[in-house]
């Protein structure tokens, strides 16, 4: 059924809108936006579902260009379905999933499987990210062109960074032919040397092996140099260090084609969360220091960091409730990201409009998804958010199969109450249905 969202405070950075108005959705598309308090003629039409969202905010559906949906192969951790449901609850309408499935998404068969599964579920828009190299082993390039035709929107070896600089150079050159970005999980794995948390006083204090910040910074710098050399399109995943932010800022000032994302855990919490051998705070790159948190916030503020992703990495409790050094890396992030982002607005780091930009149109533009906008004719992917609703994060309440969150017990503000994909209501917290 077609929908009119009435009287919501619409924030759409792609169109420069930040005011109260109505949105008319027809045939799965944004038909028009009526600003101010005018009456939509469609209101009198039959077959229109009129939803009054006065007092609530309306944003383009959130876009997350870095998630792990675990399917195929690790369905005990997450499935495309459970991940999408977690996304919808978190206000996300588009998810781009990393290739470290089993088998990895390094060929069109896996790509097509993910695309088909996503389409048939009709929950979020699901776009796979393909592996740069076959088996993600950093040796031979995957069929980038064929996989792009099958639906891959970017290429990354994610958790297994390409250590060989020559292969990375070739990947950037080759991907340029097909106009797809290369996403770098920037980590010098020799320097991280099987570390399990940030290297520093806390790691020494806990007797845990550390990963120095330089493991990230060195790789970001290498990949920036290779992007400059090749003119390829480079996106840096989950920036966690002050040094990484500086390197990206400098590269951008030199006009190098690089974009970057960070995630909520890098702008809110530090390595101190690992105290008590807390495996829910074990993530790669690791949680860093207060100095890094400040630098990440500054990077978001000044635009060095283009967008916010979640690096949603759900794990089964068996993979987390064990010895710290044997526990899996990763944080389940889809259901807390929006509220944690809104906390940046409260902290004065970003305006509401800039935050939404970094969670909608900016990531969409990086991967050329054509999403994250409420412009007329766009797919009607919309989220309605109650900015004043408070909640306490309870890991057992997560819809994701992964209950691994270090934010358990946090009191946060801002809840998505209605998530619409292609004009259909997919998530409705309050069962709004006038």
């Amino acid at each position: 059924m077609d929908i009119i969202l009435k009287n919501g405070h619409i924030v759409d950075p792609s169109a420069g809108i930040n005011t109260v108005g109505h949105i008319v959705v027809k045939d799965g598309k944004i038909k028009k936006i009526i600003l101010a308090s005018g009456i939509a003629e469609e209101e009198t039409a039959k077959d229109m579902q009129i939803i009054d969202v006065a007092g609530l905010h309306v944003f383009p559906g959130l876009v997350d260009i870095h998630v792990h949906l675990r399917e195929p192969g690790y369905e005990y951790k997450e499935t495309i379905e459970s991940g999408c449901k977690a996304g919808l609850k978190g206000g996300f309408t588009t998810l781009c999933c990393m290739p470290n499935t089993r088998p990895p998404n390094d060929n069109k068969t896996i790509t097509e499987y993910i695309v088909q599964k996503g389409r048939s579920l009709r929950l979020c828009n699901v776009h796979p990210i393909g592996a740069i190299t076959k088996k993600q082993d950093g040796k031979e390039l995957s069929e980038v062109g064929i996989m792009k035709d099958s639906g891959c929107v970017a290429f990354s070896d994610d958790g297994r960074p390409v250590t060989n600089s020559l292969i990375m150079r070739r990947a950037l050159e080759y991907a340029k032919v097909f106009d797809v970005p290369i996403i770098s999980h920037a980590e010098d794995v020799y320097l991280s040397d099987d570390g399990v948390m940030n290297e520093g006083y806390v790691s020494t204090h806990l007797g845990l092996k550390g990963i120095p910040a330089e493991a990230e910074v060195i790789m970001i710098k290498r990949d920036i140099e290779l992007a400059a050399l090749t003119g390829g399109s480079l996106h840096i995943a989950h920036v966690s260090t002050a040094g990484g932010v500086s390197a990206i800022r400098e590269a951008k000032s030199l006009g190098i084609n690089v974009t970057a994302e960070t995630t909520p855990h890098y702008f809110h919490i530090t390595e101190d969360y690992v105290n008590g051998y807390n495996t829910s705070a074990k993530v790669n790159p690791p949680l860093r220091t207060q100095k890094d948190v400040q630098a990440i916030r500054q990077g978001l503020h000044d635009g060095s960091i283009d967008c916010i992703a979640t690096d949603h990495a759900p794990h089964h409790r068996d993979d987390k409730e064990c010895e710290f050094d044997r526990a899996a890396f990763g944080i389940s992030g889809l259901e807390t990201a929006l509220a944690l982002g809104l906390k940046l607005v409260e902290d004065g780091v970003l305006s509401l409009s800039t935050l939404i930009e970094k969670m909608t149109i900016a990531p969409s533009n990086i991967l050329k998804l054509g999403k994250g906008t409420l412009r007329e004719g766009a797919d009607a992917d919309i989220v309605v958010v109650d900015l004043n609703m408070e909640f306490t994060v309870d890991k057992e309440d997560l819809v994701s199969k992964g209950k691994n969150t270090p934010f358990h017990g946090w009191r946060l503000k801002g809840v998505s109450v209605l998530t619409i994909v292609d004009g259909d209501i997919k998530y409705n917290l309050k069962q709004v249905n006038q």
Binding site: E199, V202, S203, T204, L206, G207, G210, G276, Y277, E323
Partner: protein
């Protein structure tokens, strides 16, 4: 009242004093003809070693037997843990037997802490990863006090692989807490980042580091560190950081030399040193027994206050 011994960081100086004075009493027992006392008769201890150990396990087992504790040894070969039972299932299974003490050694740092949070039995850390080995630090402290009267104000040099040494970490926490001037001597590759925040002095030069030392504690150098780029050859290590009689000349004349064992003669310590009158290495072994008896006794009677700060 806490029931476990996980970390030296948890202990107050009063707790440490109580453990040492109790150990002194038990050492007296060990010098009797009949060395067994009925103190913990009817109690059961399990020595759960996930990592091979000869001396620590023997020391705990003997301490338990001297106190009339029933003892079971449970050695878990690492290989079967990889794909087998989870750590917590193993612990819960053992707990179901109704044991009073679980003594744990594990290759992963933090395991005794994690186990102590759900187990009802008293958990004693017998060494976790590169984190801590609290009873070793307590027996070393006991040995120092026995020879020097007190720890406060002493110059204590710890030489060797600080990075991988849980013995070093527990000793750093214990000896600085008691007011010693602790110096760490090692090549930079073997010093963990941030250790300088522990109120210690760092030296890369052995001669400078042991100047006027009252105590020199040498640590075992493992050959496999060569492959990790931590050091070049054991020969070079011995030349620069191995403790020889000649190098010891800058220490105090009555300096004592310690080693947690097992020693590599000619790598971290010269035979002429470990066999000299300066060496207290065999005192450490006896004192280890007495300290472990003291810890078992004090934990079973909940006499430790744990007012130490983390």
């Amino acid at each position: 009242m806490y029931k476990d011994l996980i970390s030296i960081k948890d202990l107050s100086t009063q707790d440490i004093d109580l453990i040492i004075s109790t150990a002194i009493s038990f050492k007296e027992v060990l010098q009797r003809d009949i060395k067994k006392v009925p103190t913990l008769r009817g109690k059961t201890a399990i020595n759960l070693f996930f990592e091979p150990s000869t001396r620590t396990k023997t020391s705990f087992e003997l301490a338990q037997k001297r106190l009339s504790t029933d003892v079971i040894n449970f050695t878990v070969p690492t290989s079967s843990v990889v794909k087998g039972e989870s750590l917590f299932d193993t612990i819960k299974t053992i707990e179901a037997y109704g044991v009073d003490f679980i003594i744990i050694r594990h290759q992963s740092s933090g395991v005794p802490y994690l186990v102590s949070r759900f187990a009802n039995a008293s958990i004693i850390n017998a060494g976790d990863g590169i984190n801590e080995h609290p009873t070793q630090a307590l027996l070393d402290t006991f040995t120092i006090i026995e020879r020097k009267g007190a720890v406060a104000g002493l110059n204590i040099a710890i030489v060797g692989d600080i990075f991988h040494s849980r013995v070093a970490r527990s000793n750093i926490y214990c000896l600085t807490k008691l007011g010693a001037n602790v110096r760490l001597i090692a090549p930079n590759t073997l010093l963990p980042k941030g250790i300088e925040n522990e109120n210690v002095h760092i030296y890369t030069n052995l001669d400078k580091g042991i100047k006027d030392a009252d105590v020199i504690m040498t640590l075992r150098i493992q050959k496999e560190r060569q492959s990790g780029g931590f050091l070049s050859t054991t020969e070079e290590y011995f030349r620069f950081w191995g403790l020889t009689r000649k190098k010891m000349a800058s220490a105090k004349p009555d300096v004592i030399v310690m080693h947690p064992g097992p020693m590599n003669r000619g790598v971290e310590i010269a035979s002429e040193v470990c066999d000299s009158l300066h060496s207290v290495i065999y005192d450490q072994v006896v004192n280890g027994l007495a300290v472990r008896m003291a810890v078992l006794y004090l934990l079973s009677s909940a006499k430790l206050n744990y007012t130490g700060s983390l």
